[in-house]
């Protein structure tokens, strides 16, 4: 009896990519960004502790609108969780993750838009970058986070577009995801420290 066996592949090469270069590069970048935000929050905390009583407040309101921002925070955290789910879907069937990635992107966009709306409200109340130390810190820290969120949204949007076209590489998606997780992860720290 003559057996017919398929051609066997060669033994795998000794050197293989364990972690995609895009993820490793993004991790280094995120590490630098974590230290950037840590420096800002550190300066904020020390300045707030040394502020004279009654000076650490808005011109018209006693505190920042923490309750309204809680909704934005929930949207951002939900977006991060959806992206974790999208990653699982992508591993099983790449095409099935497109809708979840889009939903995560939309929640992230809602966060950025609502933050912008909040800024307009605060500006109308007289809180500007020059009005007080609190105003300076608020706009620098929250603004820096907003810029990162916009950058991450662009990356995630490109990932979604490539996913739809069928040209998305796993490395690109992982890189975009890593950055988005950073944006989602650093926000509760900023929210808890700056708004309360």
């Amino acid at each position: 009896m003559e057996a017919t066996l398929p051609a066997l592949p060669a033994l795998p090469a000794r050197r293989r990519e364990v972690v995609p270069n895009s993820v490793l590069g993004m991790l280094l970048f995120v590490g630098a960004e974590v230290m950037f935000f840590a420096g800002l929050i550190s300066a904020f905390t020390i300045t707030q502790a040394g502020a004279k009583p009654g000076t650490w407040r808005l011109p018209s309101e006693p505190v920042l609108p923490a309750a309204a921002t809680a909704f934005n925070t929930a949207a951002l955290v939900a977006s991060g969780l959806l992206l974790v789910w999208a990653n699982r879907q992508y591993r099983r069937n790449p095409a099935s993750a497109a809708q979840t990635v889009l939903l995560a992107w939309m929640l992230g966009a809602i966060f950025v838009v609502l933050q912008g709306r909040e800024w307009i409200g605060l500006l109308s109340q007289g809180l500007t970058i020059r009005s007080s130390t609190l105003g300076s810190f608020f706009y620098v820290i929250v603004g820096a986070h907003g810029l990162h969120a916009v950058g991450a949204l662009i990356g995630l949007g490109v990932a979604w577009w490539r996913l739809r076209q069928g040209t998305l590489s796993p490395g690109f998606l992982l890189g975009a995801q890593t950055f988005w997780y950073f944006v989602v992860g650093v926000w509760p720290v900023i929210y808890g420290r700056v708004y309360f």
Partner: protein
């Protein structure tokens, strides 16, 4: 006289122009806590990140090596079968 004025200025100026404006607040009770906690945070954060990434890389490499060993076993077993049954 000039020497005296210059000496007085040199002695008094450092007190007025502190190198670190925030350091003037050191020693106030609330501030001491903030300084200590933020110093600890800024020291621990990079170390924590480096250790975390190192552990994650180590685990990823070990997982990949375990997967590669399974592949090699499957291929060797198929080669042995092929040697027994002969070529196509």
């Amino acid at each position: 006289m000039r020497v005296v004025v210059a000496t007085v200025i040199l002695v008094l100026a450092p007190r007025v122009a502190l190198a670190c404006p925030a350091c003037a607040l050191v020693g106030v009770n609330e501030n001491s806590t903030a300084y200590v906690s933020m110093t600890i945070m800024l020291m621990a954060l990079p170390l924590g990140m480096i250790i975390g990434i190192a552990i994650w890389l180590y685990r990823s490499v070990r997982r990949a090596e375990a997967g590669a060993q399974v592949c090699e076993r499957v291929i060797r077993s198929a080669r042995r079968q092929r040697a027994c049954f002969g070529p196509e």
